[in-house]
C-alpha cells in the first residue's frame, strides 16, 4: 500500500504543487488538503508547504495557524503523525506551537534565494533517517524572514536534546541563532525547516536531488509504523 501524504493549501501558499511533486517522486501518493476543511482525508503524514499564506503581512504564518485544517493537524501531531513544515510551513508550525521559537526578518533585511549547504545533525526524525549523520546537502533557501530565534533556555533545550535537525554550513545566510536551519519536536515526528527540499528533487530543476531524502525518510517511517 502506498503512503498517503497530505499537502495543505492556504490562500497564498505557493509551493504546494512542488511539495506534491516531491511526494510523488519519492513514491507516495500526494493528497491535497484545503485550508478551510477541518479534514485530513485519511492521510498518513502532512506537509505544510512554503509560500506567503495570507500575504504574510501581519507576521509569517500568524493567520494561517488559525485555519480550520490546523485543528486536525495539531491533533494528529499529538498522536505522532509525521509533519513537515517547509519555510512558511515552518513558520506556521511555530506560530501554532507545534515547534518552539519563531522566525524573524533576515539579518540583511532582504529576501534571499540561494543554493544553500546544510549539515544534517539528527538522522533519527521521521524526516531525516535517509541521511548520514554530518552529511552536507545542497538545498535552495528562499525567504525573507528566516532568522530562527528562541529564548535562551529553549535554545539550550533544543541543543541539549539534539533537536536541531539541519544547520547552515558556511556563512549564516539570515542570522539564525546557532545557524539553525531546521528543528524537530521532542518525539522527532514534527520537523520544520526554512530551506526547500521540494526544490531539490531533480538536478534538472534544482541544484541537486538531495532534498528527496526527506520525503523518502517519511515514507520509510510510515511503512515501519
Amino acid at each position: 500500500m502506498t503512503a498517503k501524504i497530505g499537502v495543505i493549501t492556504f490562500p497564498g501558499t505557493l509551493d504546494d504543487q512542488d511539495a506534491a511533486r516531491a511526494v510523488k517522486y519519492a513514491g507516495a501518493e500526494a493528497v491535497s488538503l484545503w485550508h478551510a476543511d477541518a479534514d485530513l482525508r485519511g492521510v498518513d503524514a502532512v506537509i505544510v508547504p512554503g509560500g506567503f499564506s495570507y500575504g504574510d503581512y501581519l507576521r509569517c504564518g500568524a493567520i494561517a495557524r488559525f485555519a480550520p485544517v490546523m485543528g486536525p493537524v495539531i491533533e494528529a501531531a499529538a498522536k505522532g503523525m509525521p509533519i513537515l513544515g517547509i519555510c512558511n510551513g515552518f513558520q506556521i508550525l511555530c506560530e501554532a506551537g507545534l515547534l518552539p521559537g519563531a522566525l524573524v526578518r533576515n539579518s540583511e533585511l532582504h529576501f534571499v534565494c540561494r543554493d544553500q549547504w546544510l549539515r544534517v545533525e539528527n538522522t533519527t526524525t521521521a524526516w531525516s533517517t535517509r541521511y548520514d549523520q554530518g552529511a552536507e546537502i545542497l538545498i535552495p533557501l528562499k525567504s525573507g524572514e528566516g532568522g530562527y530565534v528562541a529564548e535562551p533556555n529553549t535554545l539550550a533545550e533544543l541543543e541539549g536534546e539534539g533537536r536541531v535537525v539541519f544547520r547552515y554550513a558556511g556563512a549564516n545566510p539570515n542570522g539564525s541563532l546557532n545557524e539553525i536551519a531546521g528543528i524537530t519536536d521532542a518525539r522527532g515526528r514534527v520537523v520544520g525547516l526554512m530551506p526547500h527540499p521540494e526544490h531539490a528533487i531533480d538536478a534538472l530543476t534544482g541544484p541537486s536531488d538531495d532534498g528527496l531524502g526527506m520525503f523518502l525518510s517519511a515514507i520509510d517511517a510510515l511503512v515501519k509504523a
Binding site: P11, G12, L14, D18, F52, G55, C113, K142, T205
Partner: protein, 761 residues
Amino acid sequence: MTANKTHNTDSVKHAESTPDVPQPYTELGLKDDEYQRIREILGRRPTDAELAMYSVMWSEHCSYKSSKVHLSYFGKTTTEQMRSKMLAGIGENAGVVDIGDGWAVTFKVESHNHPSYVEPYQGAATGVGGIVRDIMAMGARPLAVMDSLRFGPADAPDTRRVLPGVVAGVGGYGNCLGLPNIGGEVVFDPTYLGNPLVNALCVGAMRVEDLHLAHASGTGNKIILFGARTGLDGIGGVSVLASDTFSGDETSAGRKKLPSVQVGDPFMEKVLIECCLELFREGIVVGIQDLGGAGLSCATSELASAGDGGMHVVLDRVPLRAKGMTPAEILSSESQERMCAVVKPSDVDAFMRVCAKWDVTATEIGEVTDTGRLVITWHDEVVVDVPPRTVAHEGPVYNRPVQRPADQDSLQRPVDLPRPSTSDLRDLVLRMAGSHNLSSRNWVTDQYDRYVRGGTVLSQPSDSGMIRIDEESGRGVALSVDCNGRYCKLDPYTGAQLALAEAYRNVAVSGATPVAVTNCLNFGSPEDPGVMWQFEQAVRGLADGCVELGIPVTGGNVSFYNQTGSTAILPTPVVGVLGVIDDVRRRIPTGIGAEAGETLLLLGTTSDEFGGSEWAHVVHGSLSGLPPRVDLKHEMLLADILRAGSRDGMISAAHDLAEGGLAQAIVEACLIGQTGARIFLAEDQDPFVQLFSESTGRVIVAVPRTEELRFTDMLTARSMPWRKLGVVDPESKALEIQDVATFGLEELSNAWQGTLPALFH
C-alpha cells in the same frame, strides 16, 4: 466657475443644459482641438466623468497617439509565414504563440518607469502586478517573470535610493505571487539618473482551446468586476475635477495633493490568479479584461468596443475603498488587483461561488447591450453616454515631426581612444569584470525566487531563462530580454537589430528555437523630433530584423517622456525573444565543466569593433563611432547549429559574447561553472581586440572531447567560422589566457561578485 457648482452630479442632462461651462481639459492633458473633437463626437460638452474618461484614454500612455503611425510598420511587415504560429498579436492584451503539442504561450513586457522613480518599491511591484494581469486576461496561467532595469550611475546617491527599492519591489511582488524570476537586465548609465527604467515581462501558458480574448459580446451578458475594491489611488490628474466638486469642502485641498502612487497587494493578486484559473476551467467566462492604466475607463470602453458595441454600467455598484468618490474618480482610479469579466446570466451564480471560495469580492456592475453606446449611470442619472470606440480606439493620432539629430554625424565619427598594451591586459580583465555593467548581478537576483513552481530549468546567470511547460513531454520555452542603449544612441536602427540579435542568440545558446518577439520601447519626449527619429529608426530596425529572422513581433509597449529636463535617456528598445524547446532536458548550460574533458571553441568572427563598447565606456567614458555590425543571416545559422548540437548531445555548455567581449564571456563561463580553463589567442590579431571587441554573432561552445570532431566537421560543412579556443581544465581552478595572464578563480570571483554588494550593502 465649474460644471459642478450648481449640481452634485454632472449628468448628461446637466451637461446639455449647461453647454458653455468652462471645463479644466488643459489640466487633464487635453489639447484644444482634442477637446473640440470630444464635443463634436458627443454633440455637446462632455460631463466630468466623460472628460475624465477621454482624457486618460487619449493620453499618450493609453492611446499610443505619437507611436501609432510608426508601430503600424510591424503589422505591414509581418508576412503570412511569420503569422502562422501566432494565435493573437498586436492589439490584444498580450501576444500568443502556438508552441506545439496543443500548448499556447503568451508573453509581454511593460514599463513602469515613472512610478518607480517616485516610489521605487511600489512602482516596481505594481509594474509586475500589471503585466501579470495582462497575461491572465489571455486565459493563461502566469508561469514566470523577468525584469529589465536601468538606473543612473551605480555610485550616484539617487541610485542608492532607487535601485534597492525597485529590486525589493520586483522581488516582493513576484515572490509573493509565486512566479519564478528567470532573468532580466541591470544596466547603469548617467542618462537614467532622473528616469530609471523598470520593464517587467511575464510569460504564461494555456491549452490552445482556452485562449480568452477580451470582448463583451452577447447582449444581456453580465459585466462582473472582481478583485480589490476601488480607491483613490493612481487618480493623478483627474483629482482636478474632484477638487472642483469638493470646493468649499475641507477635503478638497487634500484631494488635490493625492499621490498618484499605487500600493500593490500581491496576496490579493495571487488569489485572483487562482480564482481566474478556476473560472476558466469551469468555462464560465465569455470575455475578460484586466484593469490597468485608466482603470474602469479602459476596461469598459475596450470590452464594449471589442464586443457587440454596447454596455450599461451602474457605477454605484462598484465596491469602493474610500468615501465620497466621484464618478470621474471611480472611472479613472488605478487601484490594483482588479479584473472585469463578461458572463452569461445563467453562469453568474457559478461565477460568484468560485469567487467566494477564493474570498474574492465580485460585483455585477452592468450588462452588454446592443445600443452601440457605453452608458454609465450614477444615482440613476446618466453620467456617461458615448460611442465606446471613440474612447478606446479612435483617439487622436499624431504625425509628429521626425528629424535626424544634428549631432548624429559627429557622434558617429570614431574617436581614437588610447588602447592598452598587452602587459596592461591582466588588470583590464579584472577591472572590466568588476565594472558596474559587467559585474555579477547576484546581489539583485538573489532577492528573487527562481525555484517556485518547480519548472525552472535555466535562470540567472544563464543567457536565457527556461521553464518547463509540460511535465510529461518536457516541452518548454526560453526567454531573453536585451538592449544596449549606447548602441541605439549611435545608430538606433542597427541598435534595435543588435538588441534583437542578442536576445535571439541568448535563446539559441540555451538550445531553444527562437519563435516570437515582444518589445518595450523606452524613449524620450515624442515632441522632440530627434527622439521621434530615434523611435522611427528603432521600430524599422526591429521590424526589418524580424522579417529577416522570420519571427513576428507579437506585442509590446511604448514608454515616452523618459527624460530629465530636456535630456532624453539613451533610446532603449528592450527586445524580448521567446524560444521553444521540445525537451528541456536538452538545455545547454552556461557554465563550463559539466563533463570531464571539454574542448572550447569560439564560433563567429572577431573584428576591431569598439564603437559604443563597454571598454570605451568604462575606461574612457566615451560614446562615439558606430556600433558593431549585425548579420542576422549569420545569427540564424548560429542558432541552427546550436540547436543541432543540443539535439545531438554535442554541446555541454555555451555562452554568447556580448558587452565586454571574449574576456568577459570566458570569465563568466569559468565562474558560473566553477571550473578553470586554458585558452589561447590567435596569432594574427591584436590580443586586446580579441579579448574586448564586441563583434556580434559569437559564442563560446564547450564540446565533450569525444564529440569535437563531429561538431567541427559540421561547423566547417555549414561554413560557420570557428577556431579552437582552448580546453576546460577542471583541476586548475584558474583561467589561463596564454601569453597574457593567469587568474585564480577566486581572484576573478572577488572582482566579479564584489561590486554590487559593496555599492548597495
